[in-house]
């Protein structure tokens, strides 16, 4: 019951926050980019697969770039709510367990990312439908590949468990916004180099995009989920035993 009480309170804290607004801003940015890429394309070959183009650009750019940055920002902002006026000392002097406080922070990040990703897919499909209407060459495009969408969205989310757990830990552990943002930006930036390296398949910030490679899919899911659970347990253990300043 304590867990649900803490979760209920966390939902109210999101009101009027940048953390909540960013859930909508991030997918809109990606979809706007897709819209302009397609809009600039004047000719479509007969074998052009609209859904493949729209959804692959959407989910790839989401997995490789936008989602890691969004996770960085969300964790920093959510923990910033408590670091700002040293709210930890107020919350943790209430009859709630520290474990529940930590896990709710992580769960909230998961929820926000899932909402954002759902919105991304809905908007990407809307963009596809708009182009079916405005480009006669695409008039015979069929229905979106629902199975592929569901499967790959779930893969991207599962593979991101590790970076969500790492960022939650870092943001709760250090009050400085710079530490959390620095970790996320460095992690995402080095992913560009790690992508071509052999060891790139183990790199946490590349796991969400690795799910689009048949070779790397299983490993990405395995490391994402197991690594996420391990990082969550370690972060929670650290939070429970720490002094509250």
């Amino acid at each position: 019951m304590i867990f649900f009480r803490v979760l209920h309170a966390e939902m109210l804290k999101l009101k009027r926050t940048l953390a909540f607004r960013m859930v909508f801003v991030a997918p809109v940015l990606v979809v706007t980019l897709i819209f302009f890429i397609l809009y600039e394309k004047k000719e479509f070959k007969p074998d052009f697969d609209l859904w493949d183009a729209v959804l692959k650009i959407a989910l790839n750019s989401w997995a490789v770039f936008m989602m890691p940055l969004l996770i960085t920002l969300e964790t920093a902002l959510l923990s910033g709510l408590e670091h700002g006026e040293k709210q930890w000392k107020h919350i943790l002097a209430l009859p709630v367990t520290r474990k529940s406080v930590y896990l709710v922070k992580l769960l909230t990040v998961h929820m926000l990312i899932l909402i954002s990703m759902t919105l991304l897919i809905v908007l990407a499909i809307c963009v596809g439908l708009v182009f079916i209407k405005i480009r006669p060459a695409l008039a015979n495009t069929g229905m979106p590949p629902w199975g592929w969408i569901l499967k790959h969205s779930a893969y991207v989310w599962l593979a991101s468990w590790l970076i969500m757990a790492i960022h939650t830990w870092v943001s709760v552990r250090w009050a400085s916004f710079a530490v959390t943002l620095g970790t996320g930006i460095a992690g995402t930036f080095f992913a560009l180099f790690a992508a071509s390296a052999k060891l790139g398949k183990f790199y946490p910030w590349l796991l969400p995009v690795n799910v689009f490679s048949d070779e790397r899919l299983a490993l990405a899911l395995w490391i994402g989920i197991v690594g996420g659970v391990v990082a969550t347990v370690l972060g929670c253990w650290d939070f429970v035993r720490r002094d509250v300043a």
């Binding site: 019951m1 304590i2 009480r5 803490v6 209920h8 309170a9 109210l12 804290k13 009101k15 009027r16 926050t17 709510l81 700002g84 006026e85 040293k86 709210q87 930890w88 000392k89 107020h90 919350i91 943790l92 002097a93 209430l94 009859p95 709630v96 367990t97 002094d243 509250v244």
Partner: protein, 309 residues
């Protein structure tokens, strides 16, 4: 037998080599207003954090209402409200929403919000965002958060910090009202004796991590020593002369000498002695050490003992 709200035994906390709290044994009776006094850095906040489980002691134990805090943390915190140092509020939420966050965390009834707002007189401003509040209003809202679960014990760490004189006055009235109307045990830390003595009936004085005094305000007042203050044109020479004659002398404020004596006869003897030495006496009066003096004596003695080690 008097019931005890807070009891600590040998409570100790180190930060590296520094001993922040050194074997503190607190005894706070139920329904008391306990003033926990000490200069800045004395160990007050560290003690309070240990009472609330925010930091772990290196040694010793905490009991609230006769039960071990470690074994009954969640159950005991249901009965405690706390304001630790600065207000912990969400500036983007309204006053009422801040209370709602805490209400949800407590799982308390919704009507308690209006009650808490009423007690701290913030009902009219409850709809405003906290970032628009003055420091005094923020401090009152923090107190409302602490009162939300209708606590039996209220722990307030420097509640007057940063407030202007009107805010301090308001806070003092509120604390008095909480104790008298609601019978709440209040544990109040401060570095201002003048503040505490106006509301507290029990006092604990901590300095350099050690509890130097604990008792009722009356017991502390009994520590006041009467003495004679002597005004003389050459105080150093007069002090030597009086000391040679066997009087205990200390230099006091404004160039006056404090002599450990109280009777009229003693005053006459001192006067004769000084005049006989051709020293010009312009003032002799009976005086009583203020609580401030007792506090300073206790803390200074402790510092001197520490330095002598």
């Amino acid at each position: 037998m008097q019931k005890i709200a807070i009891e600590t035994r040998g409570l100790t906390r180190r930060f590296g080599a520094q001993l922040a709290v050194n074997e503190v044994n607190l005894q706070v009776p139920e329904a008391a207003v306990y003033g926990f006094l000490g200069p800045n850095g004395a160990g007050k906040t560290t003690t309070i954090r240990m009472l609330l489980g925010l930091i772990r002691p290196n040694a010793g134990e905490v009991k609230l209402f006769g039960e071990s805090f470690t074994d009954n943390r969640l159950k005991l915190l249901q009965r405690v409200g706390a304001l630790v140092e600065t207000p912990s509020l969400y500036p983007h939420l309204t006053g009422r929403e801040n209370l709602e966050v805490t209400r949800r965390l407590l799982g308390a009834k919704r009507e308690l919000i209006d009650r808490a707002l009423g007690i701290v007189k913030l009902t009219a401003d409850a709809h405003r965002r906290v970032r628009e509040y003055s420091l005094g209003m923020r401090q009152r809202l923090s107190l409302a958060l602490a009162l939300l679960n209708n606590p039996d014990l209220l722990i307030l760490d420097e509640p007057a910090n940063g407030l202007d004189p009107a805010g301090i006055h308001e806070m003092r009235d509120l604390i008095r009202r909480l104790a008298s109307e609601f019978g709440i045990t209040i544990f109040l830390s401060s570095h201002l004796l003048s503040e505490v003595e106006q509301v507290a009936n029990h006092i604990g004085i901590i300095h350099q991590g050690k509890l130097l005094f604990q008792g009722t305000l009356a017991e502390l007042q009994a520590e006041r020593h009467e003495h004679l203050t002597v005004g003389v044109t050459q105080p150093d020479q007069a002090a030597k002369c009086l000391t040679a004659a066997g009087w205990q002398v200390q230099h006091g404020e404004d160039g006056l000498l404090n002599v450990a004596a109280t009777t009229r006869e003693a005053a006459a003897s001192i006067n004769s002695l000084l005049v006989g030495q051709r020293l010009d006496v312009f003032h002799i009066a009976q005086a009583q050490a203020s609580l401030e003096d007792i506090f300073l004596n206790l803390t200074n003695n402790s510092a001197e003992q520490e330095a002598a080690r």
